[in-house]
Amino acid sequence: MCGNEALAEAAILAGCDAYFGYPITPQNEVPAYMSRRMPEEGRIFVQSESELAAINMVFGASATGKRAMTSSSSPGISLMQEGISYLAGAELPAVVVNVVRGGPGLGNIAGSQSDYFQATRGGGHGDYRTIVLGPASVQELVDCMSLAFDLADQYRMPVMVLIDGILGQMMEPVVLEKKPRRKLPAKEWALTGAANRKQNIVRSLWLGEGVLEAFNKKLLDRYEQIQKDEVLCEQYEVDDAEIVVIAYGVVARIVSSAVDKAREEGIRAGWIRPVTLWPFPTEQISRAANELRIFLTVEMSNGQMVEDVKLAIAGKAPVVFYGRPGGGVPTVDEILDQIRQLTLKSEIKT
């Protein structure tokens, strides 16, 4: 199954009640798949008139307590930022999949990692965070979908699944199975009609003096809890490594091959792969930087996640960046060359 179809089926297995979306390459397999499968399941599919409308349809379904999602690619996700901010402000769960393509502007339709800033920094206006998951394989993408719906419901906030055009189009064997849900709080806030109870209001406007500040602090407490409890990352051969390569998504798989080759050449290389991009595995990377070693960050961008790596390392170790923006994909040999050069330099220094 290609990543786009696999994520759609995984969303259905995760109990997604409604999908709203607008066509854009390279994620068109998602709405096409959903348009067939959702009605089969007696669930809702609507092709919206724009990404603005799609995210607001998600907002509406979510406000009534339903599990709702949308998917798009970079330019469409830019249009959705208004709605994502309102979802965050109204404390509504939602799942948004961004199958990233090159930018800025219309860019191209090749896979890219150039939306990391937008995804992890909020993108929309206001003081908020979105949980961002960055899977590296079609199987992990499938697993991330049920996790995304659970996290959204548990923390009442939008969750973004950030992949790229490569993973969206790539075909890999997958195991699709219904996962047990986390223990989730009842949606007592949902708008279901005020029958035999007081009125429920879903809102993001807080005009009274100090009211919004208190609300923002409540969100901050929640975000700190997420940073404590929900970080996911994978590490490989870091303990004895002289160089640690940090990458996420499909790039991490290329890095893994390059690191294996480096090991064959006798270079003590390892890698760290963040799975949650927010919350970022700051502590894990910081711990790795307690030993003297070089960090190489590889991305399909001009350098975005590398800023979080630098924040985590806080000057304790050198951080080098290698990137291929605009749809370029770093090869195993390119990364291996970087590893060779950097370890040679470190030998000269010591």
Partner: protein, 244 residues
């Protein structure tokens, strides 16, 4: 003593923040009365706009949501599609519906969403300080048309209801006014009919446009503002049933 008139339960017992002579309070009351008369409070979800009526949930005692400017028809779509048994209505001003949300209302109507829209047209942006709306009248002075609106510079007032009436997906469109007791009674009839259509499962959009006064930004007394609806606004926005 015989009670001939009382506050309907779905209208909360509190003062509103609206200016003297504003039509929103009357429009809220009509909606609350209709909800109670149809006995649908327990299955109704309302959508408040960005604009003066953003706090409508402080006055209407039903489940309500407040959403981004212009997006109520999209939000209503998400609600109604996933909750066909619920009664979904949006309450939108002219800036919200006719300007920034023109695409959302057009396409909700185009898809024939089974929702009810109460469209308050007072020919001006109220909350932000009296700027020109798409429905602002020619020669009308606003904060952003200091010399009055001209067709050459800002275009003609936008007749959204006429435009929406061309859509097969719209089952009922009527324009009313809150300019006199008789007009208010007619507006209530129209609002009730729109809700009844949704209740009966009519396959499409029901919309009631309500010409409403804004004495503050029309720079008129409340009484003069009501006269202006009758003498000026109804010329450009003729009252009556446009569809259904």
């Amino acid at each position: 003593m015989k009670t001939v008139f009382k506050r309907t339960p779905t209208l909360k017992n509190c003062p509103t923040h609206y200016c003297p002579g504003c039509g929103h309070g009357v429009a809220h009351r009509l909606i609350a009365e209709v909800i109670d008369e149809l006995d649908i409070r327990g299955r109704t979800i309302g959508i408040a706009p960005v604009g003066c009526a953003v706090l409508a949930y402080d006055y209407l005692d039903v489940d309500m949501v407040e959403v981004a400017h212009g997006r109520p028809p999209a939000v209503a779509t998400g609600m109604k599609r996933t909750n066909p048994d619920k009664i979904i209505f949006s309450y939108q001003g002219d800036g919200d519906l006719a300007s920034i949300g023109a695409a959302e209302i057009l396409h909700a109507g185009h898809r024939g969403e089974q929702i009810t829209v109460i469209f308050i047209n007072n020919a001006v942006y109220g909350m932000t300080g009296g700027q020109m709306a798409p429905t602002t009248m020619l020669d009308q002075v606003t904060a952003t048309t200091p010399e009055g609106r001209t067709a050459a510079e800002q275009g003609y007032p936008l007749q959204v209801s006429e435009l929406l009436a061309t859509l097969p997906g719209a089952v009922y469109i009527e324009r009313c006014a809150l300019s006199s007791a008789a007009r208010i009674r007619q507006a209530k009839k129209a609002i009730k009919h729109a809700f009844e259509l949704q209740l009966s499962g009519a396959e499409g959009l029901s919309l009631v446009e309500v010409l409403s006064s804004c004495p503050t930004y029309w720079r008129m007394s409340p009484a003069k503002a009501l006269e202006w609806i009758e003498s000026e606004m109804t010329k450009v926005f003729p009252l009556g049933r446009l569809k259904g």
